[in-house]
Symmetry: C2
Amino acid sequence: MRRAFDPTLYLVTDTALCAPRSVPAVVAAAVAGGVTAVQVRDKTASRRDLLALTRAVQEVLAPTPQVRLVVNDAVDVALLTGADGVHVGQDDLPADEVRGLLGPDALVGVSVGSAADLDAVLALPPGTVDLVGLSPVWATPTKPDAGAALGLAGTRELATRARAAGLTSVAIGGVHAANAAAVAATGVDGVCVVSDVCAAADPAAAARTLRGALAGRVPA
Amino acid sequence: MRRAFDPTLYLVTDTALCAPRSVPAVVAAAVAGGVTAVQVRDKTASRRDLLALTRAVQEVLAPTPQVRLVVNDAVDVALLTGADGVHVGQDDLPADEVRGLLGPDALVGVSVGSAADLDAVLALPPGTVDLVGLSPVWATPTKPDAGAALGLAGTRELATRARAAGLTSVAIGGVHAANAAAVAATGVDGVCVVSDVCAAADPAAAARTLRGALAGRVPA
């Protein structure tokens, strides 16, 4: 059975930004502070290390089963760990192939950086993709290969179309406590954060601040 | 049902060395020249590109089903393509995890660079690993992260232990037409080649020359 996914404050991990703390330690603190979903992303790790990292994050998430765990790109790692889903970018395995491997109950997310990317997602059979990650809202050093910034207006446009199609949408790229409410007000279902939590001196406090900012958000 | 795997002349692809020719074009020529098994390896390709590459190689191998296709590292790509197996190095997913995902009929190969690596393989439940890739026989620029060279004596020692344990063994690293017979004489079941075929002006002729060299090999 598919389990509910709360995208309100979706943490995407960055191993280098978490250092010298471990990723699981930062995730544990972030969840204590109010993160609602976690995506393990480490494009430079070997598959063996990514498997170990994913399992370690799973362990710290065990007491909070409502916080879903998604693996970036690595479908094999998701299958081995029984993670809740996979998020793929435009260079990763195609979403329909990912859905085929993971089955109907997994969460499949896709990065969408343009109207054309969203068109491609909407052209897939219903049920292939659950979530679109609208990105980047703003240019960000944590993902230098990202495309042109969508800005708030572009994010709103894509979020509106995603919502009309029944897709969950989150916004990612340069989201911080100071702009989270404005991003949420574009109509996305949640915001993704990387550096604002991973690089924070106190990740729990950073998550708490973000949740506070989102609580005051203007409904779409 | 598991299908026979002929490791006699096992081609491991290198996209950069094949260029400007496509990998499938080089594979087709190499198989015409006598390559008996193919491993698609491209550590720099995105998963999306590796999936497309693997399918393209599968297409050129369709007329020669006795030539098995193995995917390096990418278990998800092997699952999606129905390739015959996966070869993992020491940084890739652990062999027992790979076997769990692929099931009993797939070929699972593991890189072994030392007696300790072979000990680890032999400590796994029987049937976990089918093949060990003894490497590198000699230092080679196509895999700069490889460990210390085994030499012929070290290769013979590991091949003898692998054979006693019922594992297929192949030798890889610096194998060329001029030394293939000496490598085969160590008792391995086959030799792997990369640059000697991928970088050859005429890959079919290169494979034919290698087969000729192997045909004169001294039985172990």
